[in-house]
């Protein structure tokens, strides 16, 4: 092969390597960008007056006076729309039976769309479900709803042998000549007046309870549950892991038994997470009966054994990286082995151990499979610290799955799902980032 070709091959080899790294970085970007962008939208968004009213009524937050004046303004514009509706209803009374029936079937969707935009219409009974008690709380959704009012989405089913295409029919045409006709242009013109959009920063998203299965409100129960589970897991796994690491590094004599223990550790690290879930169900709940059914305790224990090997490995590495001379110096001064470990070795290894601990904490917070059968529920309020032994809890990881694929209004509450994903990812990544920074700081210190 001539040198030119070899050079080209060499360069392309480099390019492949770089390309792979770029692809990984891109993958990270592609996954994170929509999550961050949409997730941020759960806190920062253009909220309507409905959102502020909901917050004020359900959570007692907000500026009562401002809300009152804005509601008054909005009501003024809404009243006009309501008047058109009732005028039309009266008009229908006077129509021929045939015409009225025809209009009635067309009118029902308009009414439904109106009430989903503005909340219960005058004269309607107050709905039982919170989700129907308020209109659209988010401006971008309100704009979608307006579209539903203005247009009827129709499908062309004329040819049954091809898949139909959708087309929009302006309702203004359908109701042309009736008293309802002006409503559509009115709604289009005065949408903002009726909804009073305002840039909203809703920090309560992280600290509020959820309302009506996450249709309104925040994700505090999930965040709290995640913390309970992760911290609970750490409480069990961290001391055990560190002690086991001390044993492996300071006491274990190389031999068959130790090699078995080490193999066991790496086996445990490789066990699929769902198997931990099965084990947690079979052992902690069915056999040990640590709790009657799913509970934070059972979940934390299951997560604890899952992160144990990671902690042991990190702690082992940290302990091994402590210079041997420290140990010699301490023993040379007449310290006992245990004392040396506690007063010299562990303090010196602590940053490394904590780094490993933080990464494990993140892992425990992010795992879903082990808690499906042991701790997670779809809906529940935030539990108190006293209930961790008996109560299951919602948790971010599980509820992301639950809301994204099982919720009856999954596509309506994407912003909540994104907000949860962002919260979880941020918790985990922040933990990891702090671990990385901590490690960098330590290695810098070691270099001098």
């Amino acid at each position: 092969m001539n040198l030119g070709t070899r050079k080209i091959l060499d360069n392309s080899f480099t390019a492949v390597g770089m390309g792979s790294i770029v692809v990984m970085a891109l993958a990270l970007l592609v996954v994170l960008t929509p999550i961050v962008y949409n997730g941020v939208g759960s806190v920062f968004f253009t909220g309507t007056i409905e959102h502020r009213t909901m917050l004020y009524k359900e959570f007692g937050r907000g500026d009562a006076k401002a809300i009152e004046t804005q509601t008054a303004t909005a009501d003024r514009y809404r009243a006009e729309a309501y008047r058109m509706l009732s005028d039309f209803e009266q008009e229908m009374e006077g129509m021929s039976l045939e015409a009225s029936r025809q209009y009635r079937s067309k009118y029902a969707p308009v009414r439904a769309a109106m009430s989903s935009l503005l909340g219960p219409l005058p004269g309607d009974p107050v709905p039982m479900l919170t989700r129907f008690q308020y209109g659209q709380t988010r401006w971008e959704k309100a704009e979608e709803k307006l579209h539903n009012i203005l247009y009827e989405k129709k499908w062309d089913y004329s040819d049954p042998t091809v898949m139909a295409k959708a087309f929009d029919v302006p309702r203004a045409e359908e109701f042309a000549g009736t008293k309802l006709a002006p409503l559509f242009s009115y709604a289009e013109r005065h949408l903002a007046d009726m909804m009073q959009p305002q840039f909203t920063v809703y920090w309560g998203f992280f600290t509020d309870r959820s309302l009506d299965a996450h249709i309104f409100g925040g994700i505090w129960p999930e965040i709290q549950g995640t913390f309970f589970l992760a911290i609970g897991a750490m409480l069990f796994a961290f001391p055990l892991g560190v002690i086991a690491a001390v044993y492996f590094t300071e006491y274990a004599k190389e031999g068959f038994f130790t090699s078995i223990l080490r193999s066991a550790n790496s086996t445990l690290a490789g066990v699929p997470s769902i198997v931990f879930g099965l084990f947690g169900l079979a052992f902690f709940i069915n056999t040990m009966k640590v709790s009657e059914s799913k509970s934070v305790l059972a979940g934390a224990l299951t997560l604890a054994i899952m992160i144990l090997p990671t902690i042991i490995r990190a702690a082992e590495e940290a302990i091994l990286s402590v210079p041997k001379t420290y140990k010699e110096a301490s023993l040379g001064l007449g310290s006992t082995k245990w004392n040396t470990i506690v007063t010299v070795i562990l303090p010196a290894a602590l940053p490394g151990i904590i780094t490993g601990g933080i990464i494990s904490l993140g892992r425990a917070a992010g795992e879903t499979a082990p808690i499906i059968f042991t701790a997670a529920v779809s809906v529940g309020s935030a539990i108190g610290i006293a209930d961790v032994f008996s109560s299951p809890t919602p948790a971010l990881s599980w509820n992301i799955y639950n809301l994204a694929s099982e919720h009856e209004m999954a596509s309506e509450i994407r912003h909540v799902q994104y907000g949860m994903v962002l919260s979880l990812v941020s918790i985990v990544l922040l933990l990891n980032l702090s671990a990385i920074l901590l490690r960098a700081k330590i290695s810098q210190k070691l270099k001098g």
């Binding site: 709905p127 989405k153 004329s158 779809s378 529940g380 935030a382 009856e408 596509s411």
Partner: protein, 270 residues
């Protein structure tokens, strides 16, 4: 130092009493995803009104039955009646499940809105789900592959569907995609042009097209008068006669508010 401060802050945040907290004497509900919306809305209503916390797990009817038998939940929400085997298992554990019908539900057969097929017969549905019909043109539609979507085997809706539409012992084709919940089925159908699926009526919205069965569209009226062939009651089971808070909760469907919740959710009050 900063770490310490963050830890302190976290501790304060975590243990700060938020909205009452304690779930002492609360009600635990486990079971069907179909009944899930009713259970969750009842739970929210009940907690708001009586201050009794209620947790709801949606893990499938079978799981609900299991939990009740194991004594790990107070109420099992189920979209099918309890099987004799489950009742027998309960008996060995000293649990005697008591049935409460809380609502009626039609199982809607849904397709993508772009699908021109207006209605379909029960026999055709059965054939599609058995894998004998694989293209829409066999039922008068376009020449497109049918993407069959079914529920997980623990689903009461799936159980009811098979019993009502396909008959005992007839198997759903292996090629069927499996979704874990009604919501997931709806999402899949609404985003897949060739799809067919079945849903609790309460989950139906404009993103999917409801197919008539034997020419009858599911609606409260057709379900109540029995002309829509694929409908079933929804249940909650308790261990023996309910007492105390549980009794009050089980009584919700009889109340005016309870009935309205059921209807607002798109189910049919009994």
């Amino acid at each position: 130092m900063i770490l310490k401060r963050i830890l302190l802050l976290l501790t304060v945040l975590l243990f700060a009493p938020v909205d009452g907290g304690a779930a002492d004497g609360g009600i635990v509900i486990d079971g069907s995803t179909t009944v899930g919306p009713i259970a969750k809305s009842f739970a929210a209503y009940f907690t708001g009104r009586y201050g009794v916390p209620v947790t709801v797990s949606e893990s499938g009817s079978g799981n609900g039955a299991k939990s009740l038998i194991n004594g790990t939940c107070d109420i099992a929400a189920m979209s099918r009646a309890m099987k004799s085997r489950e009742i027998a298992a309960g008996a060995t554990k000293g649990v005697s499940p008591k049935e409460h019908v809380i609502a009626l539900d039609g199982i809607a057969i849904v397709a993508h809105p772009s699908n021109p097929v207006p209605s379909i017969t029960k026999a055709q549905i059965a054939a599609i789900y058995q894998g004998r019909i694989t293209r829409w043109n066999a039922v008068g539609g376009p020449n497109a592959r049918i993407v069959v979507i079914q529920r997980e085997s623990n689903s009461g809706t799936q159980g009811s569907f098979r019993e009502l539409v396909m008959g005992k012992g007839v198997k759903i084709t292996r090629d069927a995609e499996t979704q874990a919940s009604n919501g997931a089925v709806k999402n899949r159908v609404s985003s897949t042009p060739g799809a067919i699926g079945f849903l609790g009526l309460g989950f139906v919205d404009s993103s999917v097209k409801v197919l008539g069965v034997n020419g009858v569209m599911p609606s409260p009226a057709t379900i109540q008068n029995g002309s829509y062939p694929v409908s079933r009651p929804l249940y909650m089971y308790t261990d023996g006669e309910p007492k105390g808070e549980v009794k009050r909760f089980i009584g919700l469907p009889e109340t005016v508010d309870g009935k309205r919740i059921v209807e607002e959710l798109g189910f049919i009050a009994k």
